[in-house]
């Protein structure tokens, strides 16, 4: 097996004044080139923290305590800000959660689609423009010429998300971080966007980290997935295996809490409180054991 595109190993993140509160507990995961890896969990599970740690955009209060994040063998955490910026700028991109706020309201779409191409590929304005039009075509945008001239507020939410997807794939990145890219959209648009991300990813052979709280989305788009609870991996593996034969009770409970399109009429079961209690007990045991080692 070749070296993975992205390899996170034993990543620990903390918050609080003295780093007293763990945010990530020893998370490890590998992503191969061209693979879609889901990070699944409820809010506060640490999935966004992982995404931000990869991108180097952790908020001020959160700190990496130990572990490594290697992109093609280069540990990102040991790089200084400027070299990390240069390394990641063209190789890793982001599809943000809320398309309504993720485009600069004061700049035309053309400027926002071409700026990265001009900076990292050194394209001329005309060449960057052609490439941007091609990208808009790829994301099945109607009237790309008109969209290029538009300001964000002139586009619908779905159109803006297509623009953001086009921008994310513009530089042929090796890795795309999709941070709940469909949460802010309505259901009908959601499915189109998911299909579009999958299509773009397959066409370009891009690795994707897909952050979501929705197992249904994971089933639809991901090859492999990591289930997180309170910053700890609960279960990890091929999505098919996870869904067919969940080993961890948390996974099972999440599946029960998920609407199933293939089983209409099946009622939704809320995650039983006992499952959470078990998870917390497991995490407490983990923390105790680690404290013992130190």
């Amino acid at each position: 097996m070749t070296a993975p595109l992205l390899s996170i190993s034993h990543l620990n993140a903390v918050t609080g004044r003295n780093g007293e509160t763990p945010i990530l507990r020893d998370v490890s995961l590998d992503i191969a080139a061209g693979e879609v890896h889901g990070l699944v969990g409820e809010s506060g599970a640490g999935k966004s923290t992982i995404a931000k740690a990869i991108l180097g955009i952790l908020p001020r209060g959160i700190r990496i305590a130990s572990g490594s994040i290697a992109l093609e063998g280069v540990d990102l955490l040991t790089l200084d800000a400027s070299s990390r910026r240069k390394l990641l700028g063209a190789t890793v991109s982001l599809i943000p959660q809320d398309p309504l706020t993720a485009l600069n309201p004061g700049r035309r779409i053309e400027a926002q689609l071409t700026d990265g191409l001009r900076l990292w590929r050194g394209l001329s304005a005309a060449d960057a423009r052609l490439r941007a039009l091609q990208l808009l075509d790829e994301v099945q945008m109607a009237e790309p010429e008109r969209v290029m001239k538009a300001f964000p507020h002139e586009l619908s939410g779905g159109m803006r998300q297509r623009v953001l997807i086009a921008a994310a794939f513009a530089l042929e990145p090796k890795l795309v971080i999709a941070d709940e890219p469909t949460t802010a959209l309505d259901v009908t648009v959601q499915k189109q966007i998911l299909r579009l991300i999958r299509a773009m990813q397959e066409r370009h052979g891009t690795g994707v980290v897909f952050v979501t709280h929705d197992l249904g989305v994971v089933a639809q788009i991901c090859d492999r997935a990591t289930l997180l609870y309170m910053g700890k991996t609960m279960e990890q593996g091929r999505v098919k295996d996870l869904l067919d034969a969940p080993r961890h009770p948390y996974t099972r409970a999440l599946m029960d809490a998920c609407p199933r399109y293939d089983q209409p009429g099946r009622g939704l079961a809320p995650v039983p409180e006992t499952v959470f209690a078990d998870c917390r007990a497991e995490i407490a045991a983990f923390d105790r054991e680690r404290a013992g080692h130190v």
Partner: protein
């Protein structure tokens, strides 16, 4: 564009009402003032018949409302009367002096915007570090100290203790006045007389800085706040992930969205700058309408005071209008009618 036209029409309508109000207030203020303006005009020793004749000539024997009508009609015809102390047509005096003030005020606005913008951007770039506290401290000082005090401090430091700049006037009197217009700076630049332009600029440095610093401070405070707000937006995050440098994030992404709100919130401060020219011109003996206004008041030169106050009122309103339109023009949502 439709939105801009609508805003323009509404603001101009309001401006006319305000200007009319200004005219009424000036008129009343000077009419309720103790002392007979005519007696002041011709001085002591005039005969009762002379006074009566002058009163009739200026319409001062008419009821107040008719007097106002006469004065307003004159103003609308461009007849502002004759200055009592300078014995010259008021409109002529204004058209000589106004260009000097316009050059001064425009330069001060430009410096304030440039300086304020630069400090706000620098402060945003170093936010969260010790240097930010230094920027805030300096700005606190700039914010607290008014133009009058700055002007005097410059006189002391740059004019006397370390005399590097000329203390008064608009240009070196030995040069003479080789100009056809009263826009000396603009004309000297257009005609390529850079030595003269340099001399004029040297004379402008201190008054311009005195006028610009308080406005720059307000711009810094509001723009820096708006920039920090913008820097927390998702679109900046997206741009950051694209690998843009911090300065490109601030200038290329955040700035354009912070300028409009800043302009809207600082609008009134631009008019304070115009008001500041009165005392600052006086301190530096700069021959604009501000310095002239103080003399006019002290000399009780009624026609000149009325003309000057109207000009100042019109300037204030125009500046407000320009700032409002600027704020609209900088907001793409409004510019394209949503």
């Amino acid at each position: 564009m439709r939105v801009i036209a609508a805003v323009l029409a509404k603001r101009i309508g309001m401006a006319i009402v305000t200007l009319f109000g200004v005219a009424v207030v000036v008129f009343l203020l000077l009419r309720v003032a103790p002392g007979d303006p005519v007696a002041m005009m011709i001085g002591a020793g005039a005969s009762a018949a002379d006074v009566a004749e002058l009163r009739a000539r200026y319409g001062l024997d008419q009821p107040l409302l008719v007097q106002f009508g006469i004065w307003l009609a004159g103003v609308l015809r461009g007849d502002f009367g004759v200055s009592i102390s300078l014995h010259r047509d008021v409109l002529e005096l204004l058209s000589e002096r106004l260009p000097a003030t316009l050059e001064l005020a425009t330069a001060a606005c430009a410096v304030a915007v440039g300086l304020g913008g630069a400090i706000a951007i620098a402060g945003t770039l170093v936010r969260g570090r010790k240097a930010e506290a230094a920027v805030d401290g300096v700005n606190g000082l700039m914010l607290a100290v008014p133009d009058f005090v700055w002007a005097l401090a410059f006189v002391l430091v740059l004019g006397v203790l370390w005399p590097v700049l000329p203390l008064s006037g608009r240009m070196d009197p030995s040069v003479g006045v080789p100009f056809v217009s009263h826009f000396y700076l603009i004309e000297s630049l257009l005609r390529g007389r850079f030595a003269i332009a340099g001399d004029i600029v040297a004379h402008m440095v201190m008054p311009v800085l005195a006028l610009a610093l308080p406005l720059a401070a307000v711009i810094v405070r509001i723009l820096k706040e708006a920039l920090s707000e913008a820097m927390m937006q998702d679109y900046v995050l997206v741009a950051r992930v694209k690998g843009f440098s911090e300065s490109r994030l601030v200038i290329g992404e955040a700035l354009r969205n912070a300028v409009g709100p800043t302009l809207a919130l600082t609008g009134v401060q631009f008019t304070f700058l115009i008001g500041g020219t009165v005392i600052v011109e006086r301190i530096f003996a700069y021959p604009g309408i501000g310095a002239m206004a103080i003399d006019a008041v002290i000399n009780r030169d009624l026609p000149l005071i009325q003309g000057l106050v109207l000009v100042f009122g019109a300037l204030f309103i125009l500046v407000n209008l320009a700032v409002d339109l600027g704020a609209v023009a900088l907001n793409p949502r409004l510019r394209h009618g949503g």
